[in-house]
């Protein structure tokens, strides 16, 4: 139970206490004969201490809401607090930037009080977060948080591997469902089948930070309008050592690179960086909840490869292919690019990216381990 005397003491300290619609002015603040109490559903009333106590009991959910956010969570102005407020649809400073985000109005204290009994769900990349009251029968404002994969939303928790230490998120996020290493934490390949239940607010933020590092901090900065975006040229030019070459990547290639690596199907961060401050890339940045503020280390490493490859000059090759074989090359590239080679059925020889079809093409058109072709000399061009 939260003692309503706490909120009275806080009002005495502050003169006027105002939080999420609750307003309590102490007599020490002005010339009032008593405490002035106001909520969105009640007119200001001047009350003696005893009557105040009774009236506060009648707006107890405002009191517990104040207690949870001001006494338990604290951290005024921090990303942690803003994120936890967002989780239960409470008013949060700043504004949402994600185009795909739910722009619905924040919930009032009574609405949240009702909703927290069942739980309020939010999605953060592939994470589903539920904020709920710890004690539903006699809520004292204390929230706990559950965290699982969006794909498991309909799965009974008893069928999931349950964790309670946020650090376990590092292990879960290390490999995908096929056991392959995930160097990019925000790739849409987070494995499912696990759940964290009953986390405290701090633990929830820690877990989210292990799954998607720095996303909360950058989302918060973006909300407040001070996300420091480093565009491609800025990031490329500050590189040294083996990455010194990446600022030589042609502008077209940067466009292709963003299309290859930075779209929603490959990364859940919403790309906010452009080629340069006044030079936007044409490819769509995505709809993710959290922003990408500069090319990541994977993009930088891949850019090095492309910078080296793009330094080669183009040549014209002559080779013999049937029309179907030419089309098959496109099918093969597309299947690899879309990551669907594992889905092609063993005997589906109608699919150009079927393994037997590829092996046949290799048997027919390769000379040794190279495609049989004649490069025209530079003079012929």
């Amino acid at each position: 139970m939260v003692d309503v005397a706490n909120v009275v003491a806080a009002a005495d300290d502050e003169g006027v206490l105002e939080f999420d619609g609750l307003r309590l002015e102490s007599p020490e603040n002005g010339e009032n004969k008593g405490y002035v109490l106001e909520t969105p559903s009640s007119e200001p009333a001047t009350l003696e201490p005893d009557a105040l106590r009774d009236t506060l009991e009648s707006v107890y959910r405002f009191v517990t809401n104040w207690h949870y956010w001001q006494e338990r969570v604290g951290g005024e102005g921090t990303a942690r607090r803003a994120f936890l407020r967002w989780c239960e649809r409470a008013p949060v400073a700043g504004r949402e930037h994600a185009p795909g985000s739910d722009a619905s109005e924040p919930l009032s204290v009574p609405d949240r009080d009702d909703a927290l009994r069942d739980g309020i769900d939010r999605e953060w990349g592939q994470l589903c977060i539920t904020a709920r009251y710890l004690d539903v029968d006699r809520p004292d404002g204390e929230r706990v948080y559950d965290l699982w994969h969006v794909d498991d939303a309909g799965t009974d928790v008893s069928d999931l591997e349950v964790y309670d230490d946020p650090r376990d998120a590092r292990e879960i996020a290390t490999t995908d469902d096929d056991g392959r290493y995930r160097p990019l934490k925000t790739a849409p390949t987070l494995p499912s089948g696990w759940a964290f239940t009953g986390l405290s607010g701090d633990e929830l933020v820690d877990a989210v930070d292990f799954f998607y590092p720095a996303t909360v901090a950058n989302w918060h900065r973006e909300r407040l309008g001070d996300l420091d975006v480093d565009h491609w040229l800025e990031t490329a030019r500050r590189q040294t050592g083996i990455y010194d070459v990446i600022d030589e990547l042609p502008r077209d290639a940067v466009e292709w690179m963003a299309e290859a690596c930075c779209v929603d199907s490959q990364c859940l961060r919403r790309r906010e960086w452009q080629y340069a401050d006044d030079d936007e890339l044409a490819v769509d940045g995505g709809e993710g909840a959290f922003p990408c503020r500069e090319p990541c280390s994977l993009v930088v490493a891949a850019a090095r490869k492309w910078a080296i490859l793009e330094s080669e000059s183009e040549r014209t090759y002559e080779l013999e292919l049937t029309t179907s074989e030419f089309n098959q090359l496109a099918e093969l590239i597309d299947a690899v690019a879309e990551g669907r080679t594992d889905e092609i059925r063993e005997a589906d020889v109608n699919d150009g990216a079927n393994r037997y079809r590829a092996r046949y093409l290799r048997a027919k058109r390769f000379d040794g381990d190279e495609l049989e072709a004649r490069a025209r000399s530079e003079d012929d061009r």
């Binding site: 951290g75 921090t78 990303a79 942690r80 650090r167 590092r170 290390t174 490999t175 290493y181 160097p183 990019l184 934490k185 925000t186 930070d209 590092p213 720095a214 909360v216 901090a217 950058n218 900065r221 420091d228 500050r238 040294t240 050592g241 503020r293 500069e294 990541c296 280390s297 994977l298 490493a301």
Partner: protein, 302 residues
């Protein structure tokens, strides 16, 4: 509030590269000495670039989990952390003596105490000796044994070899092992010829590397002749040219490394209470209860 950031290389290809970083960060977390502890990486996330903003603390101690002063500690980490007015001269180091410099950062209202790398701290000497104790299973290993401290070495950066030689000298001064030598992968004297450099029948080989990976689990074991093929593994010890080679694997995986991280932060002014003592005692207990001699194999890193 004070925070600790352990800055490590990480890998795009090898998921094990960050294991020691996580392990040491967790050890520090459990002491409760810092309000916040973060791992940060060059090749993983959170990236150096974005770690400072994830902290609420005003005082941040950054300890590079690197072996020597050089490209990463002098250029990459300060640049990516946006350390304002950083200049390697501010460390006033002879190549192994960097301790700390206090700077502001460009993207947050915080003070960063940028520490020297773990590899050159005096406490690292104890970790190397501890590693030798672990691999031999003898808490007083020394008499009748030679010790090789192995570094990457590179002609490009003389500090790389200096760190190895520094600890080699300090261990030699203790008169504990019959012989102590510094050996390298990429320069003379080379680790390939380890048996040429020792008279002792038993030689403990401790690579001064942060994480196990391509070099410590493939290159060095094969080059020393411990195994034909790293995938087949090797025995500890392995008989090579009439010597018994006790190969320890990367020193960076040693539990006591967390103590070196704490010592670096303490030297920079972090208030730690008895955390370092707790970590040292914990590592000592762990040492006597674990007889882990089997090397693990890992995939090539980048």
């Amino acid at each position: 509030m004070q925070a600790l950031v352990i800055a490590a290389h990480g890998s795009h290809l090898n998921p094990d590269a960050s294991d020691p970083t996580y392990a040491h960060a967790d050890t520090v977390r459990e002491t409760g000495a810092f309000d916040e502890v973060r791992e940060a990486f060059w090749k993983e996330e959170p990236h150096f670039r974005e770690v400072i903003r994830t902290l609420e603390s005003e005082e941040v101690f950054v300890v590079p989990l690197f072996i020597s002063e050089g490209y990463f500690t002098e250029q990459v980490i300060p640049r990516e952390l946006r350390l304002e007015a950083w200049d390697p001269e501010k460390w006033d180091s002879d190549g192994t003596s960097a301790t700390e410099v206090t700077l502001e950062v460009g993207d947050a209202d915080k003070t960063v105490h940028y520490c020297g790398p773990v590899g050159t701290h005096d406490a690292m000497t104890d970790v190397i000796v501890g590693r030798a104790e672990r691999v031999t299973g003898e808490s007083d290993v020394g008499e009748g044994f030679g010790l090789a401290v192995v570094g990457h070495g590179t002609e490009r950066n003389e500090n790389s070899a200096k760190a190895i030689e520094y600890h080699t000298e300090r261990i030699r001064d203790r008169d504990r092992f019959d012989e102590v030598k510094a050996l390298f992968m990429d320069e003379q004297p080379e680790v390939d010829d380890v048996t040429d450099y020792f008279e002792s029948d038993d030689v403990v080989v401790v690579p001064l590397f942060v994480a196990d990976g391509y070099h410590t689990q493939e290159d060095i074991p094969e080059d020393m002749g411990l195994t034909e093929d790293f995938r087949l593994g090797w025995d500890v010890p392995t008989e090579v040219d009439g010597h018994r080679i006790w190969y320890a694997g990367a020193v960076g995986t040693e539990e006591l490394m967390a103590d070196v991280v704490l010592e670096r932060a303490a030297d920079a002014g972090a208030e730690l209470g008895n955390a370092a003592e707790v970590v040292r005692d914990g590592a000592a207990v762990e040492m006597t209860t674990r007889a882990d001699r089997e090397p693990t194999t890992s995939e090539p890193g980048d």
